[in-house]
């Protein structure tokens, strides 16, 4: 697997898109920090970007890479290599190079800035960790979609729909159901619904840092123990891990059954 990972990673690192992605984040980081000179504001803007853009890029890159590397995959399949190694290697290659672009792109400006002022470093590392998780999750989801759809256009369509659903539509439905059932106790439901969407989950993790004052204004005991203690942080990271592991397992399982 490591060899495949190496080749996929190497292949991607040489592709134009990795640089575009890297330079985009680099520019963003520098603009936010050095032109704005306000770390708190930068972190908020970055959060908005990370929870919307990172999943989108992960999804599109994942699907694109899968379809584009079909030849490579077929070449590898005839070699004495385990199937799961091929797909896992490619998956980690894509997710790894995307994560690296993200972490380096945003990390470099922050490290340069952080040498001057280090109090926002914790918030910032958290953002990067969340970004890395979202990349892993959405690349895995997109690989799953691509693996299940021979048709490129269809695969792309489903992947973008998935992103649109998780990034926007889900929250709309979520809000409507909360308003519709407002007479009932909803704190368990709302936390549960948050867990089922990796984007919401990541947002919650950031809220724990940025908006703890507002979150603690709510009466429910479940909310209190979730947001008021480190329980929320712990559960959220656990769920993010599950969100990464389950699609990867499905990827292994599906790849074993697929014909080429």
């Amino acid at each position: 697997m490591l060899k495949i990972l190496k080749y996929s990673f190497y292949d991607l690192m040489r592709s134009r898109w990795s640089y575009v992605y890297f330079l985009f984040y680099l520019a963003l980081g520098f603009v936010l920090l050095f032109l704005n000179n306000d770390v708190s504001k930068a972190v908020i803007t970055l959060m908005n970007i990370i929870i919307v853009l990172v999943p989108l890029i992960g999804t599109i890159f994942g699907v694109m890479y899968y379809y584009n590397s079909k030849e490579f995959t077929e070449l590898l399949l005839a070699q004495p290599i385990k199937r799961s190694s091929i797909f896992l290697g490619q998956y980690f290659g894509v997710a790894g190079s995307l994560t690296l672009s993200l972490v380096l792109g945003l990390g470099i400006p922050f490290v340069l800035y952080g040498l001057l002022r280090s109090d926002a470093i914790f918030d910032f590392s958290m953002l990067l960790l969340i970004g890395a998780f979202l990349t892993l999750i959405f690349t895995a989801l997109s690989f799953n979609i691509a693996l299940s759809n021979e048709n490129k256009i269809k695969g792309f369509g489903y992947a973008v729909l998935l992103w649109l659903f998780l990034a926007v539509v889900y929250d709309g439905l979520f809000l409507m159901s909360l308003i519709l059932f407002e007479e009932y106790p909803l704190d368990n439901f709302s936390l549960f619904a948050t867990m089922l969407n990796p984007i919401d989950l990541s947002r919650t993790l950031i809220l724990l840092k940025l908006d703890i004052s507002a979150l603690l204004g709510y009466t429910g005991a479940v909310f209190k123990s979730f947001f008021g203690t480190s329980l929320g942080l712990f559960i959220s990271f656990l769920m993010l891990t599950l969100w990464t592991v389950i699609p990867v397992l499905r990827l292994i399982f599906k790849s074993r059954k697929k014909d080429f």
């Binding site: 908005n48 929250d171 809000l175 948050t194 919401d200 004052s213 979150l215 429910g220």
Partner: protein, 393 residues
């Protein structure tokens, strides 16, 4: 000529009570280091009682410890502990009754019920005391410093923590409260009831049950105070209830669930305050008229302003809002588009509190944006038409 009477555990005079009975007016009682198990000490003549190296006056939880019932009394440098707890009378470590020109300073109070209780007294000074309570429930705890029907009193540089209300004023006018630190109190850090023409400046209120409450009072000036980390369901930096003609300037509200909660308060000027990372910087409930919000910084609050009605009679202008996304083409430092500080989402959260988990979601941003473009639910005249482009330092 005034003389000095020395009290210590192996002197001729070993008790404070005895010393007081022997003393003449304007004498000084010098209490040496040691422990004095006494309570119901009545000071009924003008005396200076001075502790040397913090002698301990232990009330053994039997009731009130020191009562001042004379003008011109100074209490300085005592360590008073173990006030009796009662459900029928408000036992205090030091109670001043109907007296004038008193000074209570450098006193440390621990294991108390009420700390310093000023009753119908005036022209006094409560200076540099440290009051450390262990209050757990409101019903069996007392206030750190309480003023009741008292006038012209200076409360300065005290530290109050772990009591019910840190500082409590009822029917007390012309009081000056400066440089105090009131933290970790069960209810309020500072509490005004029916008290007028008072001033409090440079105080710090942190992590109290509900911050500072100013109720049913007029002409209160609140300058340069810091309100921090008052977290919880009904917690706020400051609560204003039925307050008229007040001045709130130069204060910092940081990381409170609600920065200022305003109910039925009119003609108040909010100028040059800093609202930083609060859940709600300002929550306006009920009818509030002719308030002015000017030159304030609103930085990274989850919600800047929340209203529960569609009416607005307050003015917002020349504030800095970190959420402002407009531009300044003529470079005069004032944004060219007005800022609407009330988000639709704050209405939704007021209605269905659980929706708070959707804070900062893309969907909410879209909804807030459409409301910003054409207000339907929020008062359409509620806007800052001259938002500043740069933070006020």
């Amino acid at each position: 000529m005034a003389k000095t009477i020395t009290v210590c555990n192996h002197c001729d005079i070993t008790s404070i009570k005895e010393a007081i009975s022997l003393a003449a007016d304007f004498d000084t009682l010098l209490i040496k280091k040691g422990t004095y198990k006494e309570y119901n000490i009545l000071i009924d003549k003008p005396l200076t009682i001075k502790g040397e190296q913090y002698p301990v006056v232990d009330g053994e939880k039997k009731g009130e410890i020191i009562r001042v019932a004379s003008d011109h009394v100074t209490i300085d440098g005592l360590f008073v502990i173990n006030v009796g707890v009662s459900y029928t009378s408000d036992y205090a470590a030091i109670r001043v009754v109907k007296s004038e020109n008193f000074v209570i300073q450098n006193v440390v109070l621990e294991k108390l019920f009420f700390g310093i209780y000023l009753e119908k007294s005036s022209n006094g000074k409560v200076y540099h005391n440290k009051i450390i309570g262990e209050a757990k429930d409101e019903y069996n705890s007392g206030n750190g410093i309480q003023l009741w029907y008292s006038k012209n009193i200076e409360v300065d540089r005290n530290i109050v923590q772990g009591t019910r209300d840190g500082i409590y004023l009822e029917f007390s006018d012309n009081i000056t409260i400066n440089n105090n630190t009131s933290t970790n109190n069960l209810r309020y850090g500072l509490h005004f009831m029916f008290s007028n023409h008072d001033v409090y400046t440079n105080n710090t209120f942190e992590n109290n049950g509900a911050g500072v409450a100013v109720m049913f009072s007029k002409h209160i000036k609140m300058y340069n105070n810091t309100f921090r980390k008052n977290w919880g369901t009904a917690a706020y930096g400051m609560l204003l209830k039925e307050i008229n003609d007040a001045e709130i300037k130069g204060n910092t509200f940081e990381e409170n669930t609600i920065g200022i909660n305003i109910e039925g308060s009119n003609r108040i000027n909010y100028h040059n305050n800093h609202f930083i990372q609060n859940g709600w910087a300002i929550k306006v409930l009920g009818a509030c008229y002719t308030n002015s919000f000017k030159n304030n910084n609103f930085l990274y609050n989850s919600f800047d302003i929340s209203y529960n009605s569609k009416l607005n009679d307050n003015t917002f202008s020349s504030n800095y809002w970190s959420g402002y996304t407009g531009y300044d083409l003529n470079k005069d430092g004032v944004g060219d588009v007005p800022y609407r500080p009330v988000k639709l989402f704050s209405y939704i959260v007021n209605r269905t509190p659980e929706t708070i988990v959707l804070l900062r979601s893309l969907f909410m941003d879209v909804i807030d944006f459409s409301e910003k473009v054409s207000p339907v639910f929020t008062p359409d005249n509620l806007l800052d038409d001259a938002p500043l482009m740069k933070k006020i330092e």
